[in-house]
Symmetry: C2
Subunit: 282 residues, 2 copies
């Protein structure tokens, strides 16, 4: 590098001012709509493998656990509409999420030359959690995580060019695997790793992004800042179901995550590049 | 350290002569007799966690896959007495070996402060394999590994004080998980890592070691060298079933493994220390 280049570089907005630049990291979450559809999953994995930056994939459960559970005589129990994870169900989801789905994604990614490593929260203790305390409802083997409890364990993998693929399972440190929501895991990981990377947390969604008109896929709102959000809320221009997602996105941002993106799984390449098609929240 | 101590140390057999000493690594294999018995498994994991040296655990499958398979309507097929892994069976063992059993062991180890990380051969590409070629019998989704194909991938984990816990699954690099014998995996890993560590490969067995008299647990043969082996064979003093195990042990030693030990899972502490109770093959 010439001296002039060095000078120019030292004046660039990336490095000037607020200290050292952090490397970009994508934390990407997929749910049942991708996992339950073989063709969608293969297309997604193919796109995901192409992302040149550092990346982590968090996957949800999908309907296959219910199908296998039905055959095994394990049916989901609900109390007041909330799903309960009993001892048979935790074994079921450990098998299906941590074994079947996780290893399917890992072996597919390996076939695309992406050095995937499948993990639950127990592996290398990446996601310590505690069993949800019983208040009105005993949710059973459900784990709540505190982002602050998450150390830099995942960094070793990421910095060695591995691609963590994380199943929605945590553990209590006493030998018990716990069921934890994949959206929550993606957010907690993003917060914990924001100390080391500029994190864009991407929720892959069945829509192209946050829509002004729920019936019109072309009505994606490109950018939501807090000011814009308050305006949209005041004018009641948002579909109610999306509001908790946006609230969670701002909670992650307030905890250090650089930006959150809500977009369609089919537009992952655009949404990790410079031509964002989904909704960027920052 | 005093100068005198340093001098003594530099003259010890470990460091004198043949170049740098390699650190010790235990590769320990457990099978169904431990996995299928909850009390035995917990006791084993407790002992395993106490081993202060670097270590890797390879586990087999056990009978639980058959029990779950029966409920799911997946029954093992056999051709000429050989078990066949069809597409339903590979999904079953991916769930049970890679999910249920593997994560149970990992979460137990974590509870004993052992930083376990559960892996199949697809994870971080630690065990590349190829689908067994069809000759007389099509074994289905069974993977054969070449120790030479195994890189140093596992070293990153071992050198960062993680404890790999490996399920008996490999992958073909084309997106397919494959079923592979746990003994074979333990041996292949030991061979591959012998370039970096002094490996003692320990097969946990239902007997205390190689017995001169199969009915007498006190008749453990403490040491088998090639000379002793030929003598024992010549005098027909060995139980036939043990001969392939000893042949495999010498094959591993010929490929670089320092020593192989056959012993009872309950005597792991002794067999990883200086008061060996099993049969050391070297």
């Amino acid at each position: 590098m010439t001296n002039i280049n060095r000078q120019i570089r030292s004046l660039s907005p990336d490095t000037a001012g607020g200290g050292a630049t952090k490397e970009q990291l994508f934390v990407i979450k997929i749910g049942g709509n991708v996992i339950d559809d073989d063709i969608a999953l293969i297309a997604f994995v193919n796109d995901f493998a192409k992302i040149p930056a550092k990346k982590i994939l968090v996957h949800g459960g999908g309907k296959i656990a219910t199908r296998i559970g039905d055959k095994l005589g394990i049916t989901s129990k609900y109390i007041e509409g909330r799903r309960i994870t009993d001892e048979h169900t935790i074994d079921l989801v450990t098998m299906v999420y941590g074994g079947l789905i996780n290893k399917k994604i890992v072996s597919l990614l390996q076939s695309y030359d992406s050095n995937a490593i499948g993990l639950t929260g127990a592996d290398a203790n990446i996601l310590p959690a505690h069993k949800r305390k019983v208040k009105e409802i005993d949710y059973g083997f459900v784990g709540d995580i505190e982002p602050k409890q998450i150390g830099g364990g995942l960094r070793l993998f990421v910095d060695n060019n591995m691609v963590p693929v994380i199943a929605p399972l945590t553990h209590d440190g006493k030998g018990q695997i716990l069921n934890t929501n994949a959206d929550t895991i993606a957010s907690a990981i993003s917060i914990a790793l924001s100390a080391f990377y500029d994190v864009r947390l991407i929720y892959c969604f069945e829509k192209k992004g946050v829509l002004e008109d729920i019936k019109d896929e072309a009505s994606v709102i490109g950018l939501i800042t807090k000011d814009i959000y308050h305006e949209l809320l005041g004018e009641k221009r948002l579909f109610e179901g999306i509001i908790p997602k946006i609230d969670n996105a701002f909670a992650a941002i307030d905890a250090g995550v650089k930006e959150v993106l809500i977009g369609h799984s089919e537009e992952l390449i655009q949404n990790t590049g410079n031509e964002i098609k989904g909704t960027l929240i920052k």
